[in-house]
Structure formats: C-alpha cells, structure tokens
Amino acid sequence: MSVIELDHATLQIGGRAVLKDISLAIEPGEFIGVLGPNGAGKTTLMRSILGLLPPSAGRLTVFGHTPRCGDASIGYLPQLRTVLPDLRVRGLDYIASSMHGERWGLPSLSAANRVKIEATLDAVGARDLANRALSDMSGGERQRLLLAQALIGDPKLLLLDEPLISLDARHQEVVIDVIKKVCRERKITVLFSAHELNQLLGAIDRVLYLGNAQAVLGRVDEVVTAPVLSRLYGTEIEVLRAGGHIFVLSRGRDIERAEHMHDHGHAH
C-alpha cells in the first residue's frame, strides 16, 4: 500500500487551482525531495496531506484513507515564519505544548511524556536545548528542536516544509544528515521541501517537482531535465550537470539561487 496516493486530485485555494489533476503514489520508506518555484504548491500539498485542505476534485489518500486532522502517524515541521516573536520559552515547554495540546484545561506534562521528549531530543542530538529559551537558539538549533518534536509519537510519515530555510550551508548539511539517519533507522517516509536540489542529492530517493499547477515525480535524472522543468516553470530552462552538482538555469541565471535570495517565508 502506498503511503500517499493522489488520484486525479486538484488542490484549490481561493478559487485558484494550485495543483491540478495530479496522480502520483509515494511508497513506504521513501525520502522525497519536494521542489519547485514559490507558490508551486509545496506547502499546499502538505496541508492537504495533513487533512487541512481536502481536494476540490479527485482523491487524496494517506495510508489508504482520507486524511484527518491530528493524525498521530504524521509528523509535521511547518515552515518557519519570517518574523519570529521573542519567545522566552525553553525547548522542553515548547515541545510539551504540542503533546495533546488540543485538549482543554490546564497544561500538564506526565513523567512518561517528559521521558519521550528527552528521548526524541537525544535522537537528534539536541538534549541541551530542553532548558534553553527559543529566543536564544540559532536557526539550526531551532530546526533541530522542531525536528525532534515532529518525531514524537513515532510517526510513519514526516512532512518537512523548508527545514533548510535561513540556515547556512554547514547547518543545512547537519540538518539533512540528522533527518536522513533518523528516518532510515525508523523507516519513516519523508517529504522534504527545499529551494535547492543539490544539498538533497545524497539523501533523496526520488524528487517531486511542482510547478505550473503540475507535478512530476521520479528519479532525479528523469525529472530534472530541460524538457520537464521547462514545462513546470513555463519558461525555457537549461539543466547543467557539473562535478556532482545540478544547476537549473533560466536564461543563464541560476533559478534556485535567484529565488532563494528574495524569498523568505512565503506560505503557499
């Protein structure tokens, strides 16, 4: 059984079809890199998988059934907002807030849940973040904390929305390595959206490229080609391979880098 299956699904926001007539299937244990220009529907797709946005046409199933909000088998790391409030809350309380945070009444943290939090922090090598305030953490540390949180409850599917945003190259590698290691060990299926493909090349099994309301899923050498990307970007695209890197160019300019420069935190 596929983990995620889209059958002629259309995802619509405010009357605009962000993704139109999409059919694809993602298999258990796959590490999928989700790429595409801004507004191509990376976040929208994840929100649909979470059950927040039912398809306006067609079918979307997760683990064989219609997704519903609050499914514990899905771990989610939302895209970090651009403006972060000055959160003077320690890592432990931050993660604790998400544990049955939907219940009414006073918050409480059982000893068992405390152990769970410490174990998940250990798994991503971030035990020391439990007692530090979020406002004192670096971007990389914050992403580690969020990743630790997403792993609580042993999810079988992990949706990571731009976890590399605003991290420098060294921290990007660290985050990717941690995710890769933990997910291989636990056989978790991963959807990992990013701006740049090259960082992910060593980690992903397949790539899901979105653009122009379309989606193409396949191996990197099948998908990241001039004809496919030209169709998805709606403009002439060149793909250059050099030294184990792939450069996606539009009229001689590196399209991924150019976008990364002036985009931070547009949620689509």
């Binding site: 929100r47 979470l50 059950g51 927040l52 909000c69 609050g70 989610y76 939302p78 895209q79 409030p85 000055d86 959160l87 003077r88 809350v89 320690r90 309380d93 931050y94 604790a96 807030s97 998400s98 049955h100 945070g101 939907e102 219940r103 009414w104 009444g105 006073l106 918050p107 007692n131 530090r132 305030a133 949180q149």
Partner: protein, 267 residues
C-alpha cells in the same frame, strides 16, 4: 495603616486584580498581543463614559465594551493583515467617543480621572465582591483554554494541523483579556493597565523560561508591585498608580539587565 478600612479594601482589590493581571498578561506577552490589550482598555474608556451617560455603573460599560471589542478583534484578526494600524485607529476612535460622552455628561467629569488613572483608595465592599467575581470568571475561563492556548501561541501551524481552531482560541483569549483589562482598569486606570498586565509578565519572561515558573513569577511580581505601590503611596501621598507604574518599570528594566550581565560573563 491597616486600621483604615479604605486601606484594607485597597489591598484586597489590588491584590486580586494584580494576580489576575499577572497571569493573563503572561499570555498576552507570549502571544505578542500587548498592543491589543492596551487598545482594549481604551475601548473600555468609551464604554465606561457611555455607561455613565445613560446612568449605568461605569464598570459594566467597561466590561461590555471591552468584551465586545475583544470578540470582534479575535474574529477579525486573521483577516486584518496590518493589525497594528487597524487596532490603533480603533483605539483613537474609542478615546474620541469617550471624550464625546464626557462632553455631554459633564457631572461625570470628576470620575474621568479615576477611570483614566485609577482610584484604588475609593474601592468599596461591593466593588471588591464584583472584582472577585470578575477575577474568578477570568481565571476559570483561562484555565479552560490554557492548554490549546499555549499550543496555538507557540506553534500555530502545528496546532492547526492537530485540529485546534486558531480563531476560536484567539477570540476566547481576547475575551479573557477583556475581562482582565476591565478589572485592572479599576485599580490603575485604563491608561495604565500596562503596568500590571504587561510589565510583570515581560519581566518574568526575561528571568525564567519555564512555563509555570514564569506564570507564578509574573503573578507574584504584579502582586508585589501593586501592594508595595499602595504602601509607598500611603507614606508619600503620591498617587497609587504612579507608584505601581514606577515599580513595574523598575522590575522590567531590572530584569532586562540580568541576561545582559550573564552574556558578558559567557564571552
């Protein structure tokens, strides 16, 4: 000073209100909505003067207006992108209406100062009972929504994914804030609710990062500032609200200085 009834009344009223303000204010600061709290108190001013104009007790005008405004703000908050501007415009408009109501009800003008800057020394038994009820309702409502409120404040996207209605939480919370503001305005006045609702909470969050520790410290600071303020006012004859405002500012700036010093040691 406890031989005077007005003093024991002042301690009782200020104590209750300070604890409620410190606790509610903690979440106001956590959510970055302090400006909304400030605006609610100004809207309450129009409500209080309006109530005076039609012969009702100012407190009920205050409660009614802040509650209505809190609900509306909560329901609209997702749609208004530049919230600060919208809130600021409504805030100014409310003060304008407050002025208009005062203009038509001139005998009420003596109470205007009390509304704006508070008059805790004039609190009577009826008011204490009312404030106790208001405070109890506020805390019970807050306790009921506290868990999803913290979740929605810290991680809105994830909370939404887990089925928390962000709009409901935000609206319910602003209603709670409205009640706390109404009570707080009775002690320090609508212009100075920041002193008890924001100052102690912000200071507490600088000092501790634990949730419960922060809440307790915020409530304790607010209580200490309110009571000490009354004591200082008693001995100096300065206005109580002034004394509380000074203590609140001292605690906040004192707390700001602590991590700065720690950081220097670390380097």
């Amino acid at each position: 000073m406890f031989q005077y009834e007005f003093m024991t009344n002042a301690f009782a009223a200020a104590g209750m209100v300070a604890v409620v303000s410190g606790i509610v204010g903690y979440f106001l600061v956590m959510r970055g909505q302090t400006f909304a709290g400030h605006a609610l108190s100004h809207i309450g001013f129009a409500g209080a003067t309006g109530a005076g104009l039609i012969g009702l007790a100012p407190l009920w005008g205050l409660v009614g207006f802040t509650l209505a405004a809190g609900l509306v703000m909560g329901l609209l908050s997702e749609r208004i992108s530049n919230r600060d501007v919208a809130i600021g415009v409504v805030l100014a408009l409310s003060l304008g209406f407050g002025l208009l109501f005062l203009h038509y009800y001139t005998s009420f003008a003596t109470q205007a100062t009390a509304l704006l800057f508070g008059n805790v020394l004039a609190v009577d038994h009826t008011m204490i009972a009312t404030l106790a009820a208001l405070g109890a309702i506020t805390l019970v409502a807050l306790a009921a929504i506290m868990r999803p409120l913290i979740f929605a404040s810290l991680q809105p996207e994830l909370a939404e994914a887990k089925g928390v209605s962000l709009r409901f939480i935000s609206t319910a919370f602003l209603a709670v804030v409205a009640l706390a503001v109404s009570a707080c305005a009775q002690i320090v006045g609508v212009l100075m609710v920041f002193t008890l609702m924001v100052g102690p909470a912000a200071a507490a969050q600088r000092v501790t990062t634990g949730l419960w520790a922060g809440l307790m410290l915020s409530a304790a600071l607010a209580l200490g500032e309110a009571w000490l303020g009354i004591v200082i006012a008693y001995h100096t004859d300065w206005p109580v609200s002034f004394c509380i405002a000074v203590l609140s500012a001292l605690a906040y700036f004192g707390a700001l200085a602590i991590p700065a010093r720690r950081a220097q040691h670390a380097h």
